[in-house]
């Protein structure tokens, strides 16, 4: 838990004691309550939140303010949840998106 900025010169001190646990891809992690899911995963050293549906390239936080949807994950079964905007709650089950089985981008290329 040392990767967070605890004593920020401007913002007030972060309360490190109020931790919750959540699972990401079936592994248990610790995070601070009401921290954004993206920040919690980053603090635990996880930068790859999903893989591109078509090409499988790893994707993670990009805009961190809810515009780009690069950080979308599945939380408790709900898809397309933006990790950067979702506050952490106790016992959240988060799974990352993976490459889809079939390519849907250019059907003519492999269907003609």
């Amino acid at each position: 838990m040392t990767r967070r900025i605890i004593h920020h010169p401007v913002l007030d001190r972060i309360d490190e004691t109020d931790t919750v646990s959540f699972t990401f891809d079936n592994k248990k992690y610790k995070a601070l309550r009401d921290e954004s899911l993206a920040a919690a995963l980053l603090a635990n050293g996880i930068r790859t939140l999903r893989h591109h549906e078509e090409f499988g390239t790893p994707r993670g936080i990009y805009c961190n303010i809810g515009h780009c949807f690069e950080c979308r994950v599945t939380v408790d079964g709900v898809q397309g949840v933006r990790a950067c905007l979702t506050p952490i709650q106790e016992g959240m089950d988060v799974t990352s998106g993976d490459k889809l089985l079939t390519s849907v981008r250019d059907w003519r290329a492999n269907n003609e």
């Binding site: 078509e54 390239t57 515009h67 780009c68 690069e70 397309g80 981008r105």
Partner: protein
């Protein structure tokens, strides 16, 4: 270099398509899918627009690339799926 992150369209692809067909921005979007991704073109809209206009003059009668509804991606279940068809 990737211009459109959601569809992984590279700068080379865009310039090559724009020069080959002399496209307007909308046509460039239709040909390369740049701007059709999950984020609704927020990241790459301006880049696609300016790449298209580097090879063809701006035609003001054409509709520009813009945000299309739904403004944010929405799941079909929210639109009236079982359980929340209020």
């Amino acid at each position: 270099m990737i211009i459109c992150r959601c569809e992984e369209v590279t700068y080379g692809e865009l310039v090559e398509t724009a020069d080959k067909y002399g496209c307007s921005p909308r046509e460039l979007k239709l040909r390369t899918r740049a701007g059709m991704g999950y984020c609704g073109g927020r990241t790459c809209r301006n880049a696609v627009d300016s790449i298209a206009h580097s090879s063809t003059k701006r035609d003001v009668s054409q509709i520009t690339l813009k945000y299309q509804p739904p403004i944010r991606p929405i799941s079909f279940s929210k639109l009236g799926g079982v359980g929340n068809n209020d």
